[in-house]
Symmetry: C2
Subunit: 399 residues, 2 copies
């Protein structure tokens, strides 16, 4: 089969301020994100030929998009739990690459705070089988279902628990530092390792600051045929890879599961690197936005995504590899730790950061000379998860 690489480009993006947006309805958030994207691309609603909406809980059908002023065009809702925002971009990109439309909107939204119980309807579902049947994960809360990856990782690689907990804390400190530089983030507070380690425990080894917040937000992208992209702007960003891997309840139910990796992450990353022509992700990926719902997940993602060899993420954390000034900055915008995780928006929010970084427009967070950016999401959990990896690149990436 062919590849999606360089068939489509992003020529405009928008992202709302994330947070407790009690002041805004779903429609307001959609308008805020979409119109920033329209303006950025230099298009008007009438130019949009088709649209895809990603949302899990904040709207039934694509009619939810009606405040945008799109009329009688194809509009479709996609949903894939925590990967929902990325799926909106994937659907729009395939339609453009298929020749079904030339200019498409991908938009994602979630008003998680409206769900009550501080959004527990969202994240808490992680441990349950989505259809209500009983599985290994049933009854687990999201923190509990991820926490065992931390404890097992410590054991497997011989890390003293106190040391492991400080290692996780370094991840939270890094992401909060990045978020403090980002006006669109929900949280801007700096943290110290001591604060993170001493915070109340949610599910050991995860304390309060090891867990992402619960936020509202929306983000949007204008996707066009790559050969038209330069007519919109001098610095379009190209879609290099769109990969999804869904585990059908086998990973964590197998007796031989190691609990120190998530197979869906590994598979999705492998597909994405193949599509993008990336042979050595550690050397070639310039920056990554990864699904740091919990710090221990970011830890194992360093290895699942091929940034660190198995068991060696500790060395990279200690060396500052993933810090803003490091060799492979991760979650430069603050990540889920500072943006929370409004499910339909998160994937596109990550791509918004890649897009700005790849254009050299990330302000105080700008990294040096990026070429390839990776956005990663994981919904569910090992063996019943949905992993998405999207690779974007600028002109220097070899388009």
């Amino acid at each position: 089969m062919e590849s999606i690489r360089d068939k489509v480009a992003i020529v405009g993006m928008g992202c709302t301020k994330f947070g407790e947006r009690w002041d805004m309805g779903v429609e307001d958030l959609l308008v805020e994100a979409a119109y920033e994207a329209f303006e950025d691309a230099g298009v008007e609603p009438k130019d949009i030929q088709a649209a895809w909406l990603g949302t899990v809980f904040s709207g039934l059908t694509a009619i939810t998009l009606s405040p945008l002023g799109l009329q009688y065009i194809p509009m479709t809702r996609v949903e894939n739990l925590c990967a929902t925002g990325s799926e909106a971009l994937r659907a729009a990109s395939y339609a453009v690459a298929a020749g079904a439309c030339d200019i498409a909107l991908a938009i994602g939204v979630e008003k998680l705070k409206d769900l009550g119980q501080t959004g527990v309807k969202g994240p808490a579902i992680v441990g349950d089988n989505p259809d209500g049947t009983t599985g290994l994960g049933s009854g687990f809360s999201a923190p509990a279902s991820f926490a065992y990856l931390g404890t097992r990782y410590f054991h497997h690689y011989g890390l003293e628990p106190a040391y492991g907990k400080r290692l996780l804390a370094e991840i939270a400190v890094k992401n909060h530092y990045n978020g403090s530089l980002n006006p669109k983030a929900h949280f801007h507070n700096l943290l110290t390792v001591e604060q993170v380690v001493r915070a109340p425990i949610v599910a050991w080894p995860l304390g309060l600051y090891d867990c992402c917040g619960v936020s509202d937000g929306a983000a949007a992208a204008i996707v066009v045929r790559a050969d038209m992209a330069k007519t919109f702007r001098p610095d379009p960003i190209y879609v290099k890879a769109l990969a999804v891997s869904v585990g059908a309840r086998q990973g964590c139910m197998r007796q031989d599961y190691d609990y120190v990796h998530i197979e869906e992450n590994v598979r999705a990353a492998g597909m994405a690197y193949d599509q993008a022509g990336i042979k050595d992700p550690r050397a070639e990926i310039s920056l990554a936005e990864v699904h740091d719902c919990f710090t221990c997940h970011e830890l194992i993602l360093y290895e699942d995504l091929g940034f660190s060899p198995g068991g060696k993420a500790r060395d990279d954390i200690e060396a500052g590899t993933f810090a803003l000034k490091g060799r492979l900055p991760v979650n430069t915008d603050g990540g889920l730790k500072c943006f929370g995780h409004p499910l339909g928006a998160s994937g596109l929010r990550m791509m918004y950061e890649l897009y700005k970084q790849l254009q050299g427009k990330a302000g105080p967070r700008q990294i040096k000379d990026p070429k390839f950016g990776l956005a990663h999401n994981l919904g569910g959990n090992a063996g019943m998860g949905i992993a998405s990896c999207v690779v974007l690149g600028n002109e220097k990436s070899g388009r």
Copy 2:
């Protein structure tokens, strides 16, 4: 922009028995539909490279597909109310046409009976704005929101109400006759015009037999690159057009709305005919499966889809144009009238009939020498509707 025409083909389909499937769970229905499609295409689960699930209420995330034995491939859920099944085929087709995969599964399911209140959570939503805001349609039940199309049509074209009601009854009688020949249909009972006219009124002019039933079901399609299709079977069916038109709450809220057409239907049909290269649908479409949720909708669809000139559908109904032996048979499988409307399944159930008819394998319902088949869905209602039109064709259609 290019067209999707003839880039992808369907090489296998499956469809469950529709009905009150208390004996089967969502997973069982998915397996029944998918494995019929696998067998029909001569493929195994391991051959499927990507999958799209259409469901509105019967599953969160594509992990719902896990009983099919697909593992670590991309799987995605799409939802667009009553057009959800058709959207699964559209998504799979775009991915194949984009070069992202060569062999994809599109599958739709809904266990509407599980929703309680005889499924009212599904159909009753039609009159409400899906996001819960107040609009013209709020509080309308589905029959009420469609009934005014009947009364206004009678008035607009000068039909005596009693005559108009008999005209609608003819549609119910036709569809029940077709359904009586179809073992997969929910209802097999023949009706007479007198029975339909004298049935209890639900929302005038719609009586009990003018309304579709509430059913469970699933249907599936195997979609491949058109240039590979003949390696699977000698008689693949080609995707000629995939059109969707979403109204953003303007049609029925405009003072000048005529209440005798639904603009979304007209737009989606126009897009589909353009894509398929069809200039005269009345002459070129061999058969159609249309969204007969209520008989008055099938009536106006004859005109919205270009089968009859405005106001002239009555002549065609009287002439038997849309009967099984007529010049342009509509709902040859029994339609929503006999299959009910499990939202995620309906679009693919319609395509299953087109597929069998276009292959000459529709048994006692087989029509003569078909070339092009149209499948139409409408979710919502005028001005806040989602219309989908898919055109399929066999070798004789000019592939």
